[in-house]
Subunit: 582 residues, 2 copies
């Protein structure tokens, strides 16, 4: 490809509403163009990268035995009503009526359509396992679309759905997809981690997120550098940091802490480590009786150590909180604690509350907590002596760096990540809701065991850039770079020797299957370099008259500090070597 | 690919709501599955054919220098308001509101978005010509979706848009696309014609439809077997069938024709050729004055020979009718003709009407027309003698088989066709509406000269089947067949020799780049043959124990009446030879 025949469009400055670096760089490099909030055109430069991602995904999905199909973008309400998602899903499911006033939605995923296909076309256990996938436009009407292609409304997703005879077979399908995902992300060439994730109501341990490591990532991912342990922060198990509860050593004392409403402030005032304080968080559940009618409110006091943070996902799995909880209102807090927030604690309650202590808190002795009296805390608090044992002891906090790994393999580290893939065991959730069955070997109908497997195709571009960029622009991994090598001839318009040498190298690269572009725009070197560094082409060869007289050309890898002079005869071999490295 | 690893799904009967043969066969062959009216999933078998069509289109578009991008499916009203199409388009533009109550539509085409891209990214004449294309999901909310993928609501279209400096340059872009389209349809391997089509308000002669020939086609296409002339019926020029008007030979007579309200009935009653009669069609235009206020109604009488049909597209281009016409109401007819329809004519009007005669009618003498008196016709009617010359003589009829070709090259023939592609010169219609300009060499802003070029990707499948099928099923041209060759081993489960020979042939075919499938389902030959004939795989090799003992296997081309016995060692060469033929 010659640059003059391609559509190059670069900007010195990103539009002012661009928020994150990948969005800014994709707009500046002319890869995307905003059409509306969260809706972009993928320009030729961006589409080249997308097609490379899609090809890798398609090859590995096919290799894993999955069948590609395409399900419609516009899906009828009837199917979504069968699973209840038509009503249950929020406004991110964009619903509308057609000209005949019939209800439709734009697909955010396609569980309903694919389960409908399965119940009609997969009649026998002999047809199983089966895995259907599509690489297709999706729409989620995000309340606040942002970060360019990272949280857009219209995007491209690869979604796959497996159908199996049994949970065991579904596990094998899951493992096959897990392995395929590893191959996909290995080939794409990004630093990533597969981390265990929450399975929600489905249960079991078959849910993994594929996270691209990036400081700017929205997700916290937890791993043990000395073992295989990796999980997202919602799931990562926090063990007790105290092996056994110590004997009480201090007396209970009501200590004035005027205006000190946070654990940090109290610890500073009292000159004690933050780890001796306990934080009180008050939740509420709206109870219903057997007939489904409101039956009052239960108030819950959750206790975590002052230096820890509550993990709401973990809390949401506990008995009593499973069906949904909310933070208590100020009125409910006053009613039960007789005190405003900031000075709350488990001692001296006005009305009974359920007390849930984090594992670490349950092992603390002589700790500090609010006294349910404004501007006062208790010090020297001890379980059993000063207050009853908690109603429940559970893991309800986020892990922090340095926590012991739950597998005993070392201590935990935390990185930021961008979720680009998710493999998930669905069980019979959808097949039961839609009564999707096959005839098993015993002649009896059984519900399919399902799994779903997503990859955010367009999001991968954003994640790749968040992970790989510098002040000059994007740094693509070879596998998904819009072009692998750029040849920059200096003086294209003037020098036949430059044109000949540039064309020769271009032809040689293309002949070996390299995706090269020849910049024949006759621009100054500074303009060419700035464009191609912004666009992020990983390898550059500069050919000029001055160098050619000495028999040399310049090579520069996108991450190299400086250009290297190479003999004309050696440059092809050098570029090919560097390409092998990625 | 082995059949056991693929998703095969065939039906003996098509669903009862399937209307046309391509729809029935695609459903029966498991290529598509209906999700809602006009909305289909493309199953693995169907998607394989679609991908082959897409690849051919992509290769030829790239070769023609067009740049692929992707524009969004969901487009904001703001852009569509700029061209007025938000209001002007009918309900086929599916409009809806997002969660923030902002107006959006699903793209039926993308003129607005691409023109917005051009006005922002194509700043200089140096960047021109440019041609952007996408292969992307489209949606048209058809009132009555039907014929499967031929007139669906959600479908895949390749749409391209060219931007040029001048009308002359736009002509070159048009010619390049025209040539690319010919290469595309040649490669796909369907019988087709490129026919001149109406340019509507744009004018000029740059509009061609690519029509796949099929008896079931919705369009009538006109061509001259002895010259290059080809046009669709709306456009095809009808010359006068009478060179010069003869002298009057008969007297004007008012002849009773009781109950004979059609030309056919009158000709039969009077025992004269239908070609001596003239048909009266009454149109009306609602006039407006300089201030845009209603200013009465003009009534028009259009006269075509009894054996001819009015062409409304041609009529709609005439002075006075250009801004839109309608058929006159019965009240308007009574007011102007004093008679009910069936006996109308140009003689003895109650109130003045504008008379437009078709070219042939203007040259007729001694003709027959209605007498504006119920149950009476005039015979022996002659222009000039019995009534004034018509206000306008024009081509207002459809051509019929046997008409002289307007290029003088012979006589016209008519075929039915299915429109699968359209190339169209747009001029500055969109660039002016959206003020999309570039700086020309003289430093002045100019509006882009545009063209648009569509191919119905999914519709091509339907058209291919309408053209190529028999009682047993589909007959794919090689280039877009889901599989090119099927190997049917008889006794797969029992015979090692059969398995070995089938696998050997499969491996050899795949090694030469043939897209083959090996039917390892261990089904009876009848079941295998019925499936693959329905699916339409163009070449089949059957391998069985009995044959192998004699050293022979069977080959059958999908169009062959019988299978041929071939020596085992010759079958590969034979299949490859046949593949070369398509």
């Amino acid at each position: 490809m010659r640059a003059s025949q391609f559509h190059l469009f670069t900007l010195k400055e990103a539009p002012s509403d661009a928020e994150v670096v990948s969005q800014k760089l994709m707009l500046r490099a002319g890869m995307i163009r905003k059409v509306a909030a969260g809706i972009y055109s993928y320009m030729p430069m961006g589409l080249r990268a997308i097609r490379k991602v899609e090809t890798i995904i398609r090859e590995e999905m096919d290799r894993a035995g999955a069948m590609e199909l395409t399900m419609p973008m516009v899906q009828p309400a009837e199917l979504w009503n069968e699973t209840g998602r038509w009503d249950k899903m929020g406004d991110e499911l964009l619903r509308f009526k057609d000209r005949h006033e019939r209800d439709f939605a734009l697909q955010p995923t396609s569980e309903e359509v694919v389960t409908d296909i399965a119940r009609q076309e997969l009649k026998s256990y002999r047809q199983l396992p089966k895995n259907f996938y599509q690489i297709q436009t999706k729409f989620r009407d995000e309340r606040r679309p942002r970060f360019g292609v990272m949280r857009g409304r219209e995007f491209t997703m690869k979604d796959a759905y497996s159908f199996d005879r049994s949970e065991e077979a579904a596990g094998r399908s899951y493992d096959i997809m897990f392995a395929a995902y590893k191959r996909i992300f290995d080939r794409i060439g990004l630093e990533y981690r597969a981390v265990a994730a929450d399975t929600g109501a489905i249960g079991g341990d078959r849910s993994h997120e594929f996270q691209v490591i990036a400081d700017t990532g929205e997700d916290a991912i937890v791993y043990c550098p000395d073992s295989d342990y990796a999980a997202n922060i919602e799931l990562a198990e926090a063990v007790s940091l105290i092996a056994r509860r110590a004997e009480p050593a201090k007396a209970l004392e009501k200590t004035p802490t005027p205006g000190k409403a946070t654990c940090e402030d109290v610890a500073e005032l009292l000159k004690v480590p933050l780890a001796t304080t306990v934080k009180s968080l008050v939740l509420a559940t709206d109870d219903i009786d057997d007939k489904g009618k409101p039956a009052g409110v239960t108030v819950w006091l959750l206790l975590v150590r002052g230096d820890h943070a509550l993990n709401e996902v973990k809390a949401g799995k506990l008995p009593g909180l499973k069906s949904g909880f909310r933070f208590a209102t100020e009125a409910e807090i006053l009613e039960h604690f007789g005190c405003k927030p900031g000075y709350l604690g488990p001692i001296g309650l006005k009305k009974p509350v359920k007390v849930i202590a984090d594992r670490t808190v349950a092992h603390m002795a002589d700790f500090i907590c609010g006294a349910n009296d404004a501007d006062f805390h208790f010090t020297g608090v001890n379980w059993g002596r000063d207050l009853p044992e908690p109603d429940l002891v559970a893991d309800i906090r986020n892990v922090i760096e340095g926590d012991p790994s739950p597998d005993g393999g070392g201590v935990l580290a935390i990185q930021r990540g961008i979720e680009v893939g998710h493999v998930f065991y669905l069980g019979t959730k959808y097949s039961k809701a839609m009564n999707a069955t096959f005839l098993d070997e015993d002649g009896k109908p059984k519900h399919f065991e399902m799994g779903c497997y997503g990859i955010g195709v367009t999001r991968i571009l954003g994640a790749a850039i968040e992970q790989n960029h510098d002040a000059r622009g994007i740094i693509w991994p070879r596998a998904i770079a819009p072009f692998e090598v750029v040849i920059c001839p200096v003086g294209w318009g003037k020098s036949q020797a430059v044109r000949d040498e540039a064309q020769k190298l271009y032809d040689a690269l293309v002949a070996t299957g390299v995706d090269a572009i020849l910049d024949d725009r006759d621009e100054r070197p500074g303009v060419m370099f700035a464009d191609w560094e912004l666009i992020g082409v990983p390898h550059r060869v500069t050919i000029g008259d001055r160098g050619l007289k000495e028999g040399v050309v310049e090579y520069q890898g996108r991450r190299d500090a400086d250009a290297a002079k190479l003999a004309v005869g050696e440059v092809l071999g050098h570029v090919l070597d560097r390409l092998k490295q990625g």
